[in-house]
């Protein structure tokens, strides 16, 4: 059985680096000679088409890239304009001249300073005293309540006895 060229031998042959044995085989084998010629032409055409298509696709990519960059810049400009408008319109329409508040603060501080510490403490004590019931008040009120309650209960008890 006659052995034809391996892919390794074919690759070397196509690269022009075939050894003497391979060259001798190709010169004596019509099938290998025919295949080598066909592969050489086919791979040459393959490279040629690849180079051509790649150049074409690269041009397209560059054009598409420029186009998208332009579209992006238009969109970016529009977006920035909208943001500026959204911020500036309320500021302009609601703008009022406001007098400085510093004197008011100064008066408040002056008013606060007018009340002395002793008076302030006395006021606080009064407030606290009015909110917290006196110790005897609660007991007096409670005594009255319990007294009436005892009275009624004693009456009840006397009624029961009767």
């Amino acid at each position: 059985m006659k052995m034809h060229l391996s892919s390794e031998a074919m690759e070397r042959l196509l690269a022009g680096k075939a050894d003497a044995a391979t060259m001798e085989h190709v010169s004596g084998c019509a099938a290998c000679a025919e295949e080598t010629a066909r592969m050489s032409a086919m791979l040459g055409a393959f490279r040629e088409s690849a180079v051509e298509v790649a150049a074409m696709e690269r041009r397209r990519a560059v054009v598409a890239g420029v186009g998208s960059a332009r579209r992006l810049s238009v969109w970016a400009t529009g977006a920035v304009a909208v943001v500026i408008a959204a911020v500036m319109v309320p500021v302009v329409t609601r703008h009022e001249v406001v007098t400085p508040q510093a004197p008011v603060v100064a008066n408040a501080q002056a008013g606060a300073a007018a009340v002395s510490d002793a008076e302030l403490m006395a006021k606080i004590q009064d407030d606290l005293a009015s909110n917290v019931p006196g110790p005897m008040q609660a007991l007096e009120g409670r005594e009255n309540q319990t007294g009436s309650r005892h009275g009624s209960s004693s009456n009840t008890n006397s009624n029961e006895k009767d």
Partner: protein, 192 residues
Amino acid sequence: MLQQALQPGELAMETVAVSPFEDIDAVVAEYEPRVFRFLLFAVKDRDVALELTQDTFLNAWRYRAGFRGECSVATWLMRLAVSLLRSHTRSEKFKFWKKASQSAVDAAEVQTALRHRDSSAEERMSARQQMAQVWDAVETLPQRQKTAFLLRFVEEMELPEIAAAMQLPLPTAKSHLYRALDKVRKQAGGLR
């Protein structure tokens, strides 16, 4: 004695070499079409190829200190491109965009891109059919075989350069290339 004759300053002047990537504009101008071409047919998508090409040169600039001149600039760039391609094809994003991309390269366009030389209609038809067979075969190749095939037969790189670009031992790179060539030969009707 030669070493005694050389002054320290002269030795330093000889050993210090300027990285070619310092002039990145010149590198881009010279190699960008080639890197783009390889990536285009590796991913078959114009936009992805352009993005990966830009990333390749960005990485070339970023890691320019790592280039020691042990391989050519083209091989170094292809190595970066192959590395990016590998991580890209592993990502889920690639699997999705492979199906849904609008900037995919049209296979028919590739197959009919041959210049019409002074040949008969029959010869042109035959050439187109053969081209279609090769492209179909290349499309079905696993990623590494496809990479090796494109680097060899489109970029015309030598096997040691392919091995360096793919970061593989030379025998492994050879194996990928020969398996790819086997499939293309079978598809083209040569290998039985």
